[in-house]
Symmetry: C2
Subunit: 279 residues, 2 copies
């Protein structure tokens, strides 16, 4: 077992997702993140609504922020051919938006449909990703399969362990397909350390997302904790990810009605402190 990672020396590898500070428009978030010394930003597609996307990408870089990824594509499974074709079209748009924004990566919440057998959803996900790969190659944009917590297997993702995501990477055999490791989804998995190492050997470790798991958790979607508020061994998992060769950003992705309801400047200050103390 690897030792926990050492504390991070600075904020250069800290990335914050726009949805983490959802009350802020992307322009506000960019200015505040940059002023706080945050190194990178991951942009959710809703934050781009009505914007000139290339101009928004320039604005972010002009603040000194790295544009780490675009969230999110996916949701490939459907009960009809038409639904699945629409999903593929939407993922093509996501790749084009990432290219326009200057983001090298699109994170995939792969999708699931209640009542559709999970193995059928998994087949449709593989087919959907394969259909989008030519766009990825042309645009120079990579996809990251994000395995989601098993509590989302009904309607959000039929990919619920890192082993499954690694299997899909092996099946797809493309440098344009990687994996996003999110501690919230995966911390409980007894195979996590070995599958992170395998992901590294596959050259597929494309993103690392952090937050925390609160006890009790009162909402399945929007009660994530700030790092340090919960039970996830963040520094140990970062140690595993780095031992597997990862040198990218530590991305703070928190969905929380509680934290969105507070002052976002104070929240950003707490994120920076929590990053230094717990990530």
């Amino acid at each position: 077992m690897s030792a926990p990672a050492a504390p991070l020396p600075d904020l250069r590898r800290l990335c914050v997702h726009t949805i983490t500070t959802k009350p802020w428009a992307v322009e506000t978030a960019a200015a505040r993140f940059a002023a706080a010394g945050v190194g990178g930003i991951t942009v959710w597609r809703d934050a781009l609504a009505g914007r000139d996307i290339p101009a928004t990408g320039r604005l972010l870089r002009d603040q000194g922020l790295a544009v780490v990824s675009l969230c999110r594509g996916g949701f490939f499974p459907g009960k009809t051919v038409e639904e699945r074709a629409r999903a593929i079209d939407d993922n093509r748009r996501a790749v084009a938006e990432a290219h326009a924004l200057g983001a090298p990566l699109v994170v995939l919440v792969c999708g699931a449909v209640p009542g559709l057998p999970l193995e059928e959803s998994r087949r449709q996900i593989l087919d959907g990703i394969a259909a989008v790969l030519p766009d990825c190659e042309a645009a120079g944009v990579r996809l990251a399969i994000e395995p989601l917590h098993p509590m989302y297997a009904d309607s959000r993702s039929a990919v619920n362990t890192l082993a499954q995501a690694n299997d899909m990477v092996e099946a797809l055999r493309s440098p344009h397909v990687g994996v996003a490791v999110d501690v919230y989804h995966l911390w409980w998995d007894p195979a996590l350390e070995t599958e992170i190492a395998r992901c590294g050997r596959l050259g597929a470790l494309a993103a690392f997302h952090v937050c925390d798991w609160r006890t009790p958790t009162v909402d399945l979607l929007n009660d994530r904790g700030l790092m340090g508020e919960g039970c996830i061994p963040l520094r140990r998992i970062r140690g595993w990810v780095e031992a597997a060769g990862f040198r990218g950003f530590n991305e703070v992705e928190i969905f929380s009605h509680r934290l969105w309801a507070g002052d976002q400047d104070e929240f950003l200050g707490s994120i920076v402190r929590a990053y230094r103390e717990h990530v």
Copy 2:
């Protein structure tokens, strides 16, 4: 992949947990279950509070009900030696209560403590079960390790997959240790079919619990669905369990604020209909 099981011909293998109709006292539940033709009852320990346990066991059998199991023991991990010793004492009491009631099985929610590393909790669970085994042998009572959904890994169980439970059965090497397979906890697992088969080969398939997963699920603990209200492929999973040699009861274990708030006689009628149509 096995074919889905055929519909069940009658209610003889239907067991209902006392907590499923929580508003009813155990005496009321027993009378109503028996009148509805239900074959078995699993008793939760809170339902025995203040009762003469052997007399309650006789009352259940006098109604024609099989006493299927006692819920629940477990919660072995603790941050101190004293906490762990208290947990072992409580599990010894659970075994004695099962013996007094005439229940052949105690179901274990194995436990977890926020902030205690999961692998440490797992070690403490193995040690705790081993400490209780002499009582099981003396009383002729078996323990069933119930792997819990990963969303309970923070504070309820560090055993979150059937593979882990099977590994523990192999490590403990005792005929007094088996596994409870609950579809709510395990339906999402891509290894479920193969691990059910392995559990059968180990001779460890001790209990089978059914309910359903609703979309959306609005509460992590108490929003389980009646069979047919959700997305779990119940009949396929029962087919796997039976292909692995299981011939025991199909136990309906539902925690639901919504269903507890309604008329419990109507609810029991719905359980019987749902059992015939969906299990």
